[in-house]
């Protein structure tokens, strides 16, 4: 068989797989199957302690596998087909475009932490400076394609959209404020590359491989992400299972509602290190146990200032900048939590 025919067949099979995944997800939506786990906190009382992880994981993956498969496939495809060179070219070009791209586009291809820190440094060193870099950094955990899909499916699309909007405001605000501080400016000056060494157009010449290879590489990347994230995710889910089973609803209702609830959620949501995506499932459990929606939003917004993230960034920009953005993010988390609670009447 000629190489061309082999490529055509491979492209066809890969497309078939992608359409099958998307098609099945749409089918489950039309039939209104539940994609989220169906166990309620009260169901857990019938299990003994060693049964809880198995029951919860089974319940979870039985319902959610298609959603996870779709999320990882979509993340791989977006990452592969987004025109990276166009995005990165504009990212370093100036303040306003820098903010727009840092907040709007860059998060889409940063599903993995190994691209996040280099991109952050890249934005900082090139023309755009520290403001857009911080904006990108705070936006990435809230607005990457995996988080959006999982939040939307397992919590609600309302909270997913609200999370994006408030994260955007927070990220831009923190970026602008830090770029005005003296210590922010100092870092920027230290890293700025002098203007006369403009990147020449000839130095980048991305080759485009044939479609079948791109599809394959997209799916491989999705698989790679799954391999990176899922082990932590499973451990996280086991913890969530126990938390759901043993935390008395009275405590959650007592502490994680009202104004105190928002404060507490914003504090434990941050430093407490939750691996990617687990914060969504833990948030879901707490919501079922009686946490208010306002506190849930503050909880989800805690993600950018968790400790591992801050440590990685502090190597580039020093602790003063890190603490400043963590503080701004925390203030925003509390204020938006309270505001959201007032608007929807669930404080």
């Amino acid at each position: 068989m000629s190489e061309k025919a082999v490529r055509k067949i491979r492209t066809f099979l890969l497309m078939l797989f992608v359409f099958a995944v998307v098609g099945y997800l749409i089918y489950t939506r039309i039939m209104a199957y539940s994609l989220a786990p169906t166990l309620e906190p009260k169901d857990f009382s019938k299990f003994s302690w060693y049964e809880i992880p198995f029951q919860y994981l089974w319940d979870y993956f039985y319902h959610a596998w298609i959603c996870l498969l779709f999320a990882f496939t979509a993340a791989g495809l977006v990452y592969e087909f987004i025109p990276k060179e166009a995005v990165t070219k504009y990212m370093g070009s100036g303040k306003v475009t820098g903010y727009a791209i840092g907040a709007g586009l860059a998060p889409f291809f940063t599903v993995c932490s190994c691209t996040m820190v280099p991109l952050f440094a890249g934005i900082l060193y090139s023309g755009a400076g520290i403001g857009p870099a911080i904006t990108f950094l705070l936006m990435a955990p809230a607005a990457n394609i995996l988080t959006i899909l999982i939040t939307g499916e397992f919590l609600s699309w309302e909270i997913a959209v609200v999370r994006i909007i408030v994260s955007l405001v927070t990220a831009v605000l923190a970026g602008v404020i830090i770029s005005k501080t003296s210590w922010g400016k100092a870092i920027e000056k230290e890293h700025q590359i002098s203007q006369n060494t403009k990147v020449s157009q000839q130095s980048i010449e991305i080759v485009k491989p044939p479609l079948d290879e791109r599809l394959l590489s997209a799916l491989r990347f999705g698989g790679y992400l799954a391999k990176q994230i899922l082990p932590y995710f499973v451990v996280g889910l086991i913890v969530v299972g126990y938390a759901t089973a043993y935390i008395p609803p009275e405590i959650v209702e007592g502490y994680l509602t009202g104004i105190t609830g928002v404060f507490l959620a914003s504090i434990i949501g941050g430093p407490l290190y939750t691996p990617t995506l687990v914060e969504i499932m833990l948030g879901r459990s707490l919501l079922q146990l009686g946490m208010s929606k306002a506190a849930l939003l503050s909880w989800l917004m805690g993600q950018p200032y968790d400790i591992p993230n801050m440590t990685a960034v502090s190597k580039i920009v020093r602790w003063k900048v890190v603490l400043t953005y963590a503080f701004i993010a925390w203030i925003c988390s509390v204020s938006f939590g309270l505001l959201y609670g007032l608007i929807i009447g669930s404080l």
Binding site: K84, K89, P118, G122, Y125, I204, V207
Partner: protein, 90 residues
């Protein structure tokens, strides 16, 4: 003798995908050595000032051949690298 300089660009410490990219480049280079090409492989830090000033913002892993970024944000196949290196000396 013709020389090809390949830079594998990624963060320090190298992420998993950058390590894979480097391995692919090394095996491809091994293959091409028999044809009489001299291939220099270098692992460079994506967040060094030198790289940013020469190439701008990049997505890791990236591969530059003779000072031109050819691959960005993905792990290429061995055949593709062989092809790119051959093109570079043409």
């Amino acid at each position: 003798m013709k020389e090809v300089k390949v830079e594998v660009i990624g963060p320090e410490p190298a992420c998993v995908r950058c390590q894979t990219a480097k391995k692919v480049v090394e095996t491809a280079a091994e293959k091409l050595k028999q044809t009489g090409l001299t291939i220099k492989i270098e692992k460079v830090n994506i967040i060094s000032k030198d790289i940013v000033s020469r190439y701008g913002v990049l997505v890791s892993p990236a591969i530059a051949i003779n000072g031109v970024v050819k691959v960005m944000g993905r792990v290429p196949s061995e055949d593709e690298i062989v092809r790119l290196m051959k093109e570079a000396v043409k």
